[in-house]
Symmetry: C2
Subunit: 419 residues, 2 copies
């Protein structure tokens, strides 16, 4: 099986100032094409270390993918490492990349600076895959079999995540042309509302009965719930059949906790349900501060079903904009089922949407109104009436807000399903 090592370069990663999201993206793309990632590494802006991990990576793997260390600023030294490793004897300007640099910068009204121009220069033993989304090109360094006992290739990508993502298609084509790839099969089942350990007990019998060549992983995420992933490595004629049989069994056990059978978000599922019904939604948010609306509108085309939201952080906005009665806030508090219901009804009236969902809770760090940190009330309003429900979480502010928002989306999903 063709394997790869992913190396991320940058002091900013090693000191923890930025989180490396490129490795996950690259790994997903390689996996889809049938390349197995055997390890991921991050090292600092240190030429010797970069050389070492590339060379070690090539001894153990067919492919090494390097990201980062190609920006226009002086802390980037990856290019000189590739120069030395490839045995280059000079730099050459890649005219396709130079043209892209020119077009990109002038379209933004920027001057083409000497530092930009220099980014089109590459070591003469490297070939180039132009980067259409940014100034630093992808460099490809291929070694003959003698050197590492197998065809060994280094791809060097820019560190800017959307540029790295944009380059992957060309890199996968290049890999396909140089290696004969085997297969990996994955099946993803998305669940919401059951904690990982409870889920594990619930499906223990099913899990033990899985065919031995099928691997199962639990992937918990605050916004997505627990994702279950089935994997079959290597060529398999019946992987898809096994996946669909096992998914059916799982759905019998878990019922409506299963919200999708592929990498999908709750906001996409809710959006699709609304689109199918030809119905619209609005949100009224207190503790989530606009996060539910932001998630719903992160989906392209959300304007087909999402009308708008009122973030009613202050009591005055709850009362004056949403029409929540001061008696409710005075009598029950803002974190109450009565307030959640009035907020949902209020925003539905205001926007004229078919459905409305509200959140009012206490994300922390400090408790308010003597209500627990981690408590949220969700209200759902439609022409059929108004429902409220409470959820309890035990995390920090950021994470509680995410769980509140996801619980609200999941409540909407179930409400629409049973209309």
């Amino acid at each position: 099986m063709t394997t790869a090592s992913i190396c991320t370069i940058g002091d900013e990663i090693l000191i923890g100032q930025i989180v490396d999201t490129n490795s996950a993206m690259i790994s997903r793309e390689l996996g889809k094409a049938g390349v197995r990632v055997s390890e991921m590494l991050s090292v600092g802006d240190d030429g010797r270390e970069i050389s070492r991990v590339i060379e070690e990576g090539l001894r153990k793997n067919d492919i090494v993918i390097v990201t980062g260390g190609l920006g226009p600023t002086k802390d980037d030294i990856t290019k000189s490492v590739l120069y030395r490793l490839s045995g280059s004897t000079g730099y050459v300007t890649d005219n396709r990349q130079l043209e892209i640099i020119h077009d990109l910068l002038t379209s933004r009204g920027l001057d083409v600076l000497e530092t930009n121009r220099r980014q089109a220069e590459v070591p003469d033993r490297c070939s180039v895959i132009p980067n259409r989304l940014g100034t630093a090109p992808v460099m490809v360094m291929r070694f003959p079999e003698e050197k590492y006992g197998h065809t060994a290739t280094v791809y060097s990508l820019p560190g800017v995540p959307f540029e790295a993502a944009g380059a992957m298609k060309d890199i996968i084509s290049d890999i396909r042309s140089a290696y004969s790839l085997s297969e990996i099969h994955h099946k993803t089942i998305m669940t919401y509302g059951i904690a990982e350990s409870a889920l594990s007990e619930k499906i223990a019998g099913w899990e033990s009965a899985l065919p031995s060549y099928v691997r199962l992983a639990y992937l918990p995420d605050p916004l997505k719930g627990v994702t279950l992933r089935l994997s079959v490595y290597g060529a398999s004629d019946d992987a898809e059949t096994v996946f669909s049989t096992e998914t059916e069994k799982l759905k019998k056990i878990l019922g409506d906790a299963v919200y999708a059978e592929n990498e999908t978000t709750l906001q996409q599922v809710v959006g699709e349900l609304l689109r199918k019904k030809g119905m619209t939604i609005s949100t009224a948010e207190s503790c989530t501060g606009g996060l539910v609306a932001s998630l719903l509108t992160s989906v392209p085309g959300a304007s087909d079903y999402f009308l708008g939201s009122v973030v009613s952080y202050a009591y005055s906005v709850k009362e004056n904009v949403l029409g929540v009665s001061p008696d409710i806030i005075g009598g029950y508090g803002a974190v109450s089922p009565e307030c959640a219901a009035a907020m949902a009804d209020g925003v539905r009236r205001l926007t004229g949407s078919d459905f409305a969902v509200s959140t009012t809770g206490n994300a922390g760090p400090a408790a308010s109104e003597n209500k627990d940190v981690g408590l949220v009330w969700v209200g759902i309003s439609s022409e059929y009436g108004t429902q409220t429900m409470d959820f309890h979480f035990h995390n920090d502010r950021i994470r509680n807000r995410e769980r509140f928002a996801a619980s609200a989306l999941d409540a909407v999903r179930k409400y629409i399903l049973y209309q």
Copy 2:
């Protein structure tokens, strides 16, 4: 200098299904304490690979920190690797952790399952740091100097990010008790509104004149702008003096593009400015869909200055809730300075806030109203009048929305600064 290697365990990371955020968090904490992270690695749920990277890590570093692979479900195998590496001869139950497991689960109304109980069992040669936030304890394995030529310690943390974060304080104490730590000095300067390459040209002279022992890094981020980081490694009496001299020089060159001198977000800076002035804000959002409000309310205590928001995605909500005249939308379109101004004025009137900021733009993927993808109009309204400004970006939908929101926050910052 005391060094560490950070190893993240899990197939879900290697296949790219989740992004590893623990390594960055751990690295920041180690760095603050004076431990240098020399590398980060991720390997799959494979006992041999986990053993290999831990042992290689211990040969090269004083400390190896392992995260993940300790969950209650069957795909986690880190504990058995530690059993073997530590030469344990049995498992013992840690009663402090067992008590925590019991308290945590019963407080959530959950049963204590056998899988939960088993999480308190640790290899008998490991010591335990209790994990107060979750069920899996932190395990500590310390080897005598003979084995690796230096005191070598493995810390094994749970993979759940907030549990891992919660354990770091105790781990740092343990490291301080076993190693004499040297120092790392960092100074962070946050800038917004100047792209990385232009910034680099602008400060090239200053950068060349930096003392040779001061390292500079550029850390671009869509929500934070470009962070500049100065670093001095090793003991230094004058690091703070050098940092403050250099920061002053930098501020003369960059002016109000510098918004903070430590790790701070734009939403925190805007919040502090509002708090100091005793003034309030509201937002009216179209393309950002609640993201500006969500960022502002992610800061604890935001209720002191944030009143609320109207997300006016549909024309009808712009008109009926915010009072934007249909003539504006008909005549200029929703993505226009006229609409941005009317939205900001409208939400200020509605909520009674001192300031209001609005966004209306086109995040993509498809163009609308014949306006460019990546164009956003920001409106700011206060008693002194209403301003609008446009920004142009060239990214995907998610990234454009982030840049739109950050630009709106930065516009508010500058507006308040010059009031």
